[in-house]
């Protein structure tokens, strides 16, 4: 079981990384989503896949039976919410940048790091 999940996780992270390293801003964004999903899986499997029973105390019971580990669930839940908010924010940001710059090529989005004149930093090379 762990092998299947671990391999899936590795694939997601590899795909996320590959997309993140793209020059296309929207692909970077989707890459970030995949990356986040992969890290959530990592967190989740870190708490072991022990039981398929949810950690809920049934009525009348006084102790948690043998169930799944609740701790990574809490962490992953928080992580999903936060990454959702992050994605919403970055989406609007990316949209605005694309509108302003007229390009979705990150090699051309250099407003914060303009090509230097001092000969130390590299001058802007025209992206091929």
């Amino acid at each position: 079981m762990i092998w299947a999940v671990a391999l899936a996780l590795g694939t997601v992270i590899a795909a996320g990384t590959y997309l993140l390293l793209s020059r296309d801003l929207l692909r970077c964004l989707i890459g970030l989503v995949l990356f986040g999903n992969g890290i959530n899986l990592l967190l989740f499997t870190g708490g072991r896949l022990t039981s398929s029973l949810p950690p809920i105390i049934d009525a009348g019971e006084t102790a948690l039976a043998v169930t799944a580990n609740p701790l990574p669930q809490a962490l992953v839940l928080t992580a999903i919410v936060i990454s959702f908010a992050l994605m919403c924010f970055s989406l609007v940001l990316a949209l605005q940048i694309i509108q302003l710059a007229g390009s979705d090529d990150v090699a051309r989005l250099r407003a914060s790091e303009p090509p230097s004149q001092d000969g130390i930093k590299p001058a802007l090379e025209e992206p091929s």
Partner: protein
């Protein structure tokens, strides 16, 4: 378009009501089972988004109980207040207590958690609903 189906407007009105009802049910269910304020809130957001995509952002906005930011603020306030009763009993802030109400044959478990969850629900609906509607409005203005 398939003509014998009711128009999308009617369809989405029904969907809107059903989604909202479902969201409230999930919210209520969250006390003792999977579900809760966040998922319920997202359901409500989905309802608003569907409404806005068929009609327009403005009318979806009008169907919200409050202006989005105010809705979110109310939610946060409610969530914060829900932790206060515990202080009266000398318990740590945000400690929740539950009781079971009996209405003859029906027994309803009620706890202060529902107040907290309702706060979350309103907050999520306000923030993400507002976000989606603003995005849809921006698309409308574009075209």
């Amino acid at each position: 378009m398939i003509s014998w189906l009711p128009p999308a407007e009617v369809f989405v009105r029904v969907l809107y009501a059903m989604l909202l009802f479902a969201s409230l049910w999930i919210l209520w269910r969250g006390q003792n089972a999977p579900g809760g304020g966040f998922i319920g809130g997202l359901m409500a957001v989905a309802a608003s988004a569907a409404y806005a995509l068929v009609f327009d952002a403005g009318s979806a906005l009008r169907r919200l109980p409050l202006e989005p930011v105010r809705l979110a603020a109310c939610g946060v306030l409610l969530a914060l207040l829900s932790g206060l009763p515990a202080l009266l009993n000398g318990l740590p802030y945000l400690t929740h207590r539950g009781v079971t109400l009996s209405f003859g044959v029906v027994e309803l478990p009620v706890s202060t958690v529902i107040l907290f969850d309702l706060g979350i629900y309103l907050c999520v609906w306000g923030v993400f609903g507002g976000y989606c509607l603003a995005l849809v409005r921006a698309i409308e203005e574009e075209s």
